[in-house]
Amino acid sequence: MNARLVVRLIGSVLAVEGLLMFLPLIVSLYYGGADYPAILISIAIVLAAGLLLGCVRAKSELLRPREGLAVVAASWVLVSAFGALPFVIHGSIPSFVDAFFETVSGFTTTGSTVLQDVEAVPRGLLFWRSFTHWAGGMGVLVLSLALIPKMGARSIHLMRAESPGPSPDRLVPRVAKTAKILYKIYLGMSALLVVALMLCGLDWFDALTHMFSTAGTGGFSTYNQSVGHFQNLAVEMVLGVSMVAFGVNFSIYYLLILGHFRGFFKNSELRTFVSIVAAATVLIALNILPGYGNFFTALRYSFFQVTTLISTTGFATADFAVWPVFSRAVIVFLMFVGSCAGSTAGGIKVVRAQLLWKNLRRDIHQSIHPNAVRVIKLDGKPVDEKIMSGVTGFFYAYMLITMLATIVVSLDGHSLETSFSAVLTTISNVGPGLGQVGPKGNFSIFSDLSKITLSMCMLLGRLEIFPILMLFTPSAWRK
C-alpha cells in the first residue's frame, strides 16, 4: 500500500470539503444566524487538516486499485467526521456520534435523521446539511477529480471505487474530462430543478435545499413534515419526476447530449426502471385506495412515495409506515432494488437486479441442458463473466451485511420491522424506514452502537461495500 499517496489524496479531498463549507457560511451570514462562528471554526479545522495531509510527499505516484479503494473509503469516513463539526460546535447536535450519523446520512445521500425538530436548526447549518447530499450524490472524489488538475491516468481507480454500478468507466478518453462532463450534467439538471421549484412558489432557500436533496437523492428536508409541509401538488409532481430523473444513469444522459436518442430510449436498465416505477405506483395506489377514498389522491400519494423510495431519496408526503402490509412489502422491494447504476441513488441497482435475474434464468436453463453455452447479454453486448461473479458476490455481501446489522440493531429491543427496515433503509441510502423509523419517526431512538452500525451501513451502501471491506482486510496493507 502506498500509504503516503493515500494520505496526500485524502488531504486534497478534505481541502475541497473545506472550500465547499464556505457556501453555508455565506448563507449563515446572509440570514444573520448564530451559527456562523461554528461554521468558520470548522472551515479552519478542515482546511488545516486538508492542507497538512496534502503536504505529505509520496515517494511514488503509483495508484493501484487498492490505493483507489483505500482513498475512497477513508476519505468518506473522514469527510463525514469533519463535516459533522459545525453541528457539534454549534450545539444543535451536541453528541458527536449523532452528528456523525447525520453527516454520513448527508454525504451518503441517505437522509435518515436523528433530529427531532429540524426547524429549530439555524439556516446555515440546514443549508450545509442539505448540501452534503448534493456533494455526496455525484461523489466527493469525482468532484475532486473534476477540480484537481493532473491526477493522471490511474485516477480511474478512484472513480471506479466511488461510482456505483458493476463496471463504471470513462465516457471520453480522459478521466478528468469524464468527471467534468458528469458534473456538468448534474449541475445543469440541478439548475433546471431550482428554477422549476421557484416557479412552483418556493423561496430560494427552500428551492435550493430541496434541490440538493433531490439531486443527490438524499432526502433531508428543512421541515419536520418533509415535503408534506408545502401541501403543493405542483411541487410534489416536479420533485417526483426529478427524483426519477436523478435515479437514471448519468452516462446515458451523455448519449442524449450526443444526439444518440435511440441508445437512450433503448437502454434496458432505463426501461426496467421506469416499468418498476409505473407498476409499483399503480399497485400501491389500488391498495391504499380505501384509505384515501379517491383514486386521484391515492395515485398522487402513491406516485410521490414510490418515486421517493425507489430513487432512495426518502422525502415523504404521507406516513407510509401505516399503509397496508401489501404496500409496505412493495416498499421494501423498492428499497432493495433502488435506481440505476451511475446515478446518485442507492440500493443494489436495477442493472444488478437484471443481471442476477438473467443469471438465474441461465442456471435454470443449464440444469435442463447441461451442455448449453449461453452468454449473458445486456443491451446486446456480452457481459463479462468477471462482472457476473462480481454482481453475485456483491449481492451476497449486501444480504449478509443487512442480516448481521439487523442482529446488532435488534439489541436495542425495537420491533423486528423497525430494526430490519432501519438497516435496509440505511444500506440502501433511502432515509426513512418502517415502524418507529417511518416518515413520522426518527433515528434518535437508537443507542450509540446502533447509530454507528447504521452509519457504517450507509457508507457500505453508498460505496458499494468493497472499498469499506477492503479497509479491514489485512493483506491490503501488507507490503
Binding site: 471520453v172 478521466v175 474530462k177
Partner: protein
C-alpha cells in the same frame, strides 16, 4: 486531436501512451479484454472491446469524428480493411501497419485505391535503422535530421576519451562543432548543460552536421571504418528488407536461416548474398562460417533469447559490431550493461514512425514538426521543427526566450549552415530547429519556451 488506435499490442500500447501524454484524446480498440484492461488502468484512454474490422465497433470508438485512425493489429489484412473502413466512415487520416513484403511492393497502388494515407512497416523501419548503424559501427543509435545533413549519434563514453571529465563549456572550440544533446547515466536520462561533465560509461548523444560528426569520432579515436561484411542470423522480414536496403553499399552479406524453404525463397529474391541453411545458435556452424572475421553480426531471429545468446557469443568472438533485434524485452539498460549497445526493436521503430506522422499532423501556427525520435528507451525525445513566419519566438536571442528546464535547443539549420546555438543566437523564419527534451515536455516548438518569452 481525437485518435483511435486499433490493436492494443506493443505498438498500440506504446503509441497510446505517448499520444495521450501529448494531450490527444485516445481511444483503443482490441479483441483482447485482458490487454484492454491493462491499458484502461494504466493510461488515460478510452477502451472499446471488439474487432477492428467491425463497423459497429469502429463507430462505437468514434472513428467518424476521429482525426487519426491507426490500425496496428497483427494482421495486415485487418489493418487495411480497418483503415479503409475508417476513411469511409469519415476519419480524416488513416495509418495502417503492413508488414508482408508481398504487399509492400504494390503498396503505392494499394494506398491510392484503398484510400489509406500512410503505411507503416515495422520490419522495414527496423531494417533501415540497422543499415544506418552499419555506417557508423561504434554508434549504438543514429538518427538523421534536416534531410540527412544532420546526424545524432549515440555512443558509449569510455575512460580516456578526451571528452570525459571536462565541463562541456570548456570543450567548445577544442573539438569539432558537435552538440552533446542527451546523456544516460545509470537509469537516469539527462539533458546536459554547460557545466555538465561526461563520465566514462555514460551513454552520450552527439549531434552535428555529418562532417563534424565524422571528424569528432575520428578525434575520439573511435572506429569509423565502414562495415564490409556482415552475418545475419535469421531470415525473416527484417533480414529481407535489410538485404534490400544495403544492396548498393558494398557489404558482403551472409544469412544463416534454419528453415530450408525460407532459405530457398531468400536466395530466389535476393542477389549477391550468401544463404546458409543451419541453426544460427550452433557455435560450430558459426565458427565454420568464420563469424570471427565478420565486421558485423546481426541477430534477427524471432526469439529474443536466441538473439541475445548469439549476440553475446559474437561479442566474445570479437566481432566489431553486434546488433540484436528484440521483440518483447523492454530492458535496453540491462542489455547495455552486458555490452549489447545496439538493440533494435521493430515495434518501437514502428511506434516512432507513427508518432512522428501524428505529431506532424497536429498543425501549429509557429512551427511544423518534421521528425520526432524517442531515444534512451523513450525517456528523451529529439525532434526537428521548421519555424514558420509570424511565430512569437523569431529573432529573439535565445537567452531572452526562457527556455524550459529539460529542453535543449540543440541545433539550428539555416540554409547550408549548421549553427550550434548560444545565448546570443536566434531563430529565423524557415530555420530547421532541432530540440532535445525530456519526455512529455515539448509537443511543439513553442512549448520549449515559457509563455512570457514566446509571447513577445
Amino acid at each position: 486531436m481525437n485518435i483511435v488506435i486499433v490493436g492494443d499490442g506493443k505498438v498500440g500500447y506504446t503509441l497510446a501512451d505517448c499520444l495521450s501524454k501529448d494531450g490527444h484524446d485516445v481511444t483503443i480498440v482490441d479483441n483482447n479484454k485482458k490487454a484492454l484492461a491493462k491499458a484502461s488502468e494504466t493510461l488515460d484512454v478510452l477502451c472499446v472491446p471488439g474487432s477492428g474490422a467491425n463497423v459497429r465497433t469502429l463507430l462505437e470508438a468514434g472513428v467518424e469524428t476521429a482525426d487519426v485512425v491507426i490500425a496496428a493489429t497483427t494482421g495486415d489484412e485487418t489493418n487495411m480493411v480497418c483503415a479503409m473502413m475508417a476513411k469511409q466512415l469519415g476519419a480524416k487520416y488513416a495509418i495502417a501497419r503492413v508488414r508482408d513484403p508481398d504487399y509492400t511492393e504494390g503498396l503505392t497502388l494499394l494506398l491510392n485505391k484503398l484510400d489509406i494515407d500512410q503505411v507503416i512497416n515495422p520490419e522495414r523501419a527496423a531494417a533501415l535503422e540497422i543499415s544506418r548503424l552499419l555506417r557508423f559501427p561504434f554508434a549504438t543509435d543514429i538518427e538523421s535530421f534536416a534531410h540527412g545533413r544532420v546526424e545524432m549519434v549515440g555512443f558509449r563514453a569510455d575512460a580516456g576519451d578526451p571528452v570525459v571529465g571536462v565541463p562541456l563549456s570548456k570543450l567548445r572550440g577544442k573539438i569539432p562543432s558537435v552538440q552533446f544533446s542527451a546523456v544516460q547515466r545509470g537509469n537516469e536520462a539527462l539533458i546536459p548543460g554547460g557545466d555538465f561533465e561526461i563520465q566514462s560509461g555514460d551513454h552520450v548523444y552527439a549531434t552535428g552536421d555529418r562532417d563534424s560528426v565524422t571528424r569528432f569520432f575520428k578525434l575520439l579515436g573511435k572506429d569509423t571504418n565502414r562495415v564490409r561484411s556482415a552475418m545475419l542470423i535469421g531470415g525473416g522480414h527484417v533480414t529481407y528488407y535489410l538485404a534490400r536496403a544495403i544492396a548498393g553499399m558494398g557489404v558482403k552479406l551472409k544469412i544463416v536461416e534454419i528453415n530450408e524453404d525460407r532459405c530457398r525463397s531468400l536466395s530466389e529474391k535476393l542477389e549477391d548474398v550468401e544463404v546458409i541453411q543451419g541453426d544460427g545458435t550452433d557455435s560450430e556452424l558459426l565458427e565454420s562460417e568464420n563469424v570471427r572475421d565478420q565486421d558485423a553480426l546481426i541477430c534477427l531471429t524471432d526469439r529474443d533469447e536466441e538473439n541475445l545468446i548469439v549476440g553475446l557469443y559474437g561479442l566474445r568472438a570479437g566481432v566489431r559490431k553486434v546488433i540484436v533485434k528484440v521483440n518483447h524485452l523492454n530492458t535496453m539498460d540491462v542489455l547495455g550493461d552486458m555490452g549489447l549497445g545496439s538493440v533494435i526493436s521493430p515495434k518501437q521503430a514502428a511506434a516512432n514512425g507513427i508518432l512522428r506522422s501524428v505529431r506532424a499532423l497536429s498543425q501549429s501556427k509557429s512551427a511544423v514538426i518534421e521528425k520526432v525520435y524517442a531515444i534512451l528507451g523513450g525517456k528523451v525525445e529529439a525532434s526537428e521543427f521548421t519555424a514558420l513566419p509570424g511565430a512569437g519566438f523569431l529573432n529573439v536571442p535565445l537567452r531572452d526566450l526562457n527556455i524550459k528546464k529539460g529542453v535543449l535547443v540543440t541545433l539550428i539549420v539555416r540554409g547550408r549552415q549548421c549553427i550550434i546555438p548560444f545565448g546570443g543566437d536566434h531563430i529565423e523564419s524557415g530555420d530547421s530547429v532541432i530540440l532535445t527534451a525530456l519526455e512529455g515536455t515539448v509537443a511543439n516548438l513553442e512549448d520549449a519556451f515559457d509563455a512570457a518569452g514566446a509571447g513577445k
